[in-house]
Symmetry: C2
Subunit: 244 residues, 2 copies
């Protein structure tokens, strides 16, 4: 399982390139494969559309069972809200004896944090607003828990064509614990040509542009906005004075 | 600010190498710089010991103010529990006009998750047990919040020479909400020669080897151990049947 990061070649590790290079077959979601044409040359390529994730993982396992060296390409990092778990569940269910290696890549977490400056200097909670596989009541419970304990909150899957109200509801919940001027960073399509970085507030979040390619980071009570950055200090008092 | 990942060259991105290559001066913690000798050749190098972080960041800012292109090397990712925030705070305090770019790298989060298979397939909370800059009461509050809302919990700074009881206390708190057989993954020195990966349970955690180079990942109520992996399913019911 190969994490190819946010999309541009300069953020793909040598380890990931080596894994692809040493493979017989490369399996992946068409949109991610289209970003790395050079790394596919000479390989058997199996590409498919987004919602065929289970099929794609199953196919990759089947090919590996035939003795082939297979790379299953994941955008970002296979290990963060991605397909690694699905592959293991299939391997376990099939009692397969193939070996699974995870090659980590830069997740949305890493790329978006870098674009926002320093939002994740302290404890943070990653919460997905996708209620496809998780009861919405549990997602709300997690939002309450994270906001009440003053975590920085990284919101994955904030919006999709079908899901547009969840982000507003998440904001309502967080506002029970955090002030309206709490900074919120939104990074869309990190490192790609259409990248957009915006820093706004919880109050003004409904006006911001958020889509399927966005990651939303809500600051904690100590976070502040500076220029187009979102900075979260590392602690709650300065142990080392910054002044001379 | 350049993230060099977990330590081995194969996990350093081309973007990070380019940033170092284009710099006049490279500043960093001696132990991380020793891992990348090739990337330092021909550069002015300023290295220092661990606890001189503020000085190191201040020095990097000063050199940049002299017009030099400076790379401040961070192990892992500058944006996750690292030095990015400190640099911004210094730049803001000095009213400096230097430009700060963050080059993301693989954080302990990415590398450790990869070694454990698939622990972070669902919502997770990252909590640091270091009470140097944060009141211990708040850390406990966060542990309660994360465990009660069934987050996977990534524990940073689980132990140090001076701090040995915090991990045991964290375990006590989590045990109020999770079963004793909840799987716990411990990755020490990920990707380095002395790497160690262990999967145990909350119950048996006190027996495990944990040190300053370790990251501890506590599963949620659906996580399970398989071989030497820690798998967290993506949701709370299977939307797509895995069977044929």
């Amino acid at each position: 399982m190969v994490g190819t990061g946010p999309g541009s070649k300069e953020h793909i590790t040598p380890a990931a390139c080596k894994a692809l290079e040493s493979s017989d077959v490369i399996v992946g979601y068409k949109t991610y494969l289209d970003l790395i044409p050079d790394l596919l040359s000479g390989k058997e390529v199996v590409s498919s559309a987004m919602m065929q994730e289970v099929d794609r993982c199953r196919r990759a396992v089947e090919l590996a069972e035939q003795g082939k060296q297979v790379s299953l390409v994941c955008g970002g990092d296979p290990g963060i809200y991605a397909m690694a778990g699905l592959v293991f569940e299939i391997v376990i269910e099939k009692k397969s004896s193939i070996r699974v290696n995870i090659v980590p890549g830069l997740a949305a977490l890493n790329s978006c944090a870098a674009r926002l400056g320093a939002p994740l200097m302290h404890d943070f909670a990653a919460i997905s607003l996708s209620d496809l596989l998780t009861p919405w009541e549990l997602i709300e419970k997690r939002l309450h828990a994270a906001a009440s304990a003053d975590f920085v909150i990284v919101i994955y899957n904030p919006k999709s064509k079908k899901r547009t109200k969840q982000l507003l509801r998440a904001r309502e919940i967080i506002l029970k614990y955090q002030k309206p001027d709490t900074p919120v960073g939104i990074v869309t399509a990190a490192t790609r040509d259409n990248e957009k970085v915006e820093v706004t507030t919880l109050d003004r979040l409904p006006e911001a542009e958020v889509n399927m390619q966005s990651t939303v980071i809500v600051g904690n009570s100590t976070s502040f906005a500076w220029q187009n950055y979102l900075i979260t200090p590392r602690g709650y008092h300065h142990k080392y004075s910054l002044g001379e």
